[in-house]
Each structure stands twice: as C-alpha cells, then as structure tokens.
Symmetry: C2
Subunit: 198 residues, 2 copies
C-alpha cells in the first residue's frame, strides 16, 4: 500500500511542476536574464537546491518551460486546424491563430525572445511545434493539388518567421493593435496566395 497520500514519484513530479510554473511566470514577466533563481524558487516554496537537482542549471529550466509552452501551443493549433472545413482553410486559420498567440506577452518574451537568444534557434529537441505542424499542413495541401510543390520545410519556417515578426509589430503598445492584426492578416494572405496553384 502507498504511504497515505501520494507516492514519492508523484511528489517529485509536483516539485518539478511547481518549479516550472514559478519559472514560467518569472521568465515571462522579467525576462530570463533578469530573473534571479532565488526569487522564484522561494516563491515556489523551494530553494535553488531543488532546481539544480532537477534541471542542472538555469538554461535547463528554461528548456523545460519552453517545452511546456510549446506543447500547449501545439495542442491549441491542432485543434483550430482540425475544426476547419477544408485543409486550406485550416492552414489559414492555423497561421492566424499563431499570430494571435504570439500577441501573448508570455509567448513573445519566452519563446520568441529569450529562447532564441539562449538556444540560437528554438531548440531542435522541442523543434518548434508551430513550424513542424505548418510543414505537415503544407505537405497535405500539395498532395491535394491545392498548393504547387515546393520545399515545405523552408517554406513553413519562412511563414513562421513572417508571422513571428509581424507579431512584434502588432504588439507594440501605442496605437490600435486590432487594426494592425488585420493589416498583418491581409499581408499574410497575399504572401500565402503565392503558394496556391492559380
């Protein structure tokens, strides 16, 4: 029988989860570089000892946070894409949704700014879910004859890059974000139009 409440593995998992959650909040609000490990480990009721034991160093923890966020984003995008009436429409909605997601400060700060600075690209391990899924979509569209054949790997990346860059512009504080989002979608529509078989 198990000791009263939880098994040991469960408590360990809970510790890891608490650290990741606390780090996620801290990284998102202050940025990776300006976040002290003492601060948010204390906020989680732990010390840096636990952190180094589980994640090795500060970057290891950032990696865990990135993987968690990427998983959530991936699930969200997949759901949006699956709900669309056609593959091409699913592709468009996926791009649009990613654009909206990238407006969340947490994602911009952690994934688009800090992750790239620390790991160069979004790490291959958690190869950006956004890119991978875009590529899959493109492959399907080519198979169906909607999109003319091309190198889906680079193309997916370029679309990802375009959307990412646009999000920084849309997210600028002054002015009308909603209007900028619409303008970005128009521009994106035009660029994507170049992929279609005319």
């Amino acid at each position: 029988m198990q000791p009263q409440r939880r098994t040991r593995a469960e408590m360990i998992e809970e510790t890891r989860a608490k650290l990741v959650a606390a780090a996620r909040i801290a990284f998102a609000s202050q940025g990776f570089a300006h976040t002290s490990m003492d601060d948010f480990t204390a906020a989680a009721g732990l010390t840096r000892g636990a952190l180094y034991h589980h994640f090795g160093n500060k970057e290891g923890l950032l990696l865990a946070v990135i993987e968690q966020i990427e998983a959530e984003v991936g699930d969200h995008l997949q759901a949006v894409s699956d709900a669309a009436p056609s593959p091409w429409e699913g592709f468009r909605r996926r791009c649009r949704t990613y654009l909206e997601l990238a407006l969340e400060p947490e994602i911009r700060r952690i994934i688009l700014q800090d992750a790239r600075a620390i790991f160069g690209d979004v790490p291959q391990a958690a190869q950006s879910v956004g890119i991978a899924a875009l590529q899959t979509s493109l492959d399907g569209l080519i198979a169906e004859g909607v999109v003319a054949p091309l190198h889906t790997n680079v193309t997916a990346r370029m679309i990802y890059g375009a959307v990412t860059e646009a999000s920084f512009w849309i997210a600028e504080p002054e002015g009308d974000q909603e209007a900028r989002l619409e303008q970005a979608l128009e521009g994106l529509e035009r660029l994507l139009g170049g992929l279609l078989i005319h």
Copy 2:
C-alpha cells in the same frame, strides 16, 4: 596649433571606436550574456571605466555595436539594390542579399539573437535598416504598378521575418548550406510572387 599628432576629440573617438570594435568581436563570438566587460576592454587596452563613461552600461555598448552593423548592412543592401536593372529585380536581390548576410555568424548572433532578446525588437532608434529599405522598395513597386497595393509596413516586416528565420535554418552546421540557400530562395520567390499583379 594642435598638439603634435591628434586633437583631443579624435583620441576620444578612437577610444570609442576601439571599444565598439572589441565588443563587436566579443559579442559575436561569445554572445552578449557570456561576454565579460573586463575581458574585451582589456583586449582593447582599456578598462571598464572608459566603457561606462562613454556608453553608460553594457546594453548601451551593445546598442552602439548594433548601430554600426546596421549601418554597414544598410549600405551594402542599398548598393546591391541600386545596381539592379529593374525595381522588382532590385527588390529580389535585396532579399537574396539579406539572406546571405544573415548567414554571417556575427550578424545572426548580434542582430538576430541578442539584439532581439535585449531590446525586444530591433530597437526603433536604429529601426532595422533592412525592414525600412524593404518597405521603401515595396512602396516604389506599388507606385509603378508592379505590386498590388497593400500595407507595406507589415509586409516588409513579414518578408524580413521570413528571411531571418530561413537564415537560421540555412546556417545549421550539418548538411549542405548552399543547397538550403537555394531552397530558401525558391520558397521566397513563391511567397513574393503573391505580391505581384498577375
């Protein structure tokens, strides 16, 4: 008459230039975060005292380095664009050249990774020369009726983002970089094709 060799202002400018040059090398090779200010100031034959006097802090120095690089890149791109036989061709060559420039480790590391992490976007002050010039090109192409009207600001940014993201992929160490560059250019051609009046 001036004291023998150089005036005071010249020596000051030389000091600034030495610091920027040393920092540029250090940032490019080790990254901003892992660069110790003591190390490269010593390499320049100076101390951190000079650095703080001229640039305020580490980020101020990074800003100066960014501005220097952006100016060089801008000049280079302008020359390439001007030499093209037609505006549309100039636009294409500009994109291509930027893609090639982004393959240089110095530019990827400092401009595409660290600058974004520290300043959010490439700082508005030195509003990315690449983006601004792309927008100007687009405006011209629309005026000539080559490109259908659109929001050139976002679109220029998205193209910049696409190219930037592609460069990370092309620059991956393993495999054939040249082949990837060609694939990226093909994909870029397709995306840009969506802008043309058909």
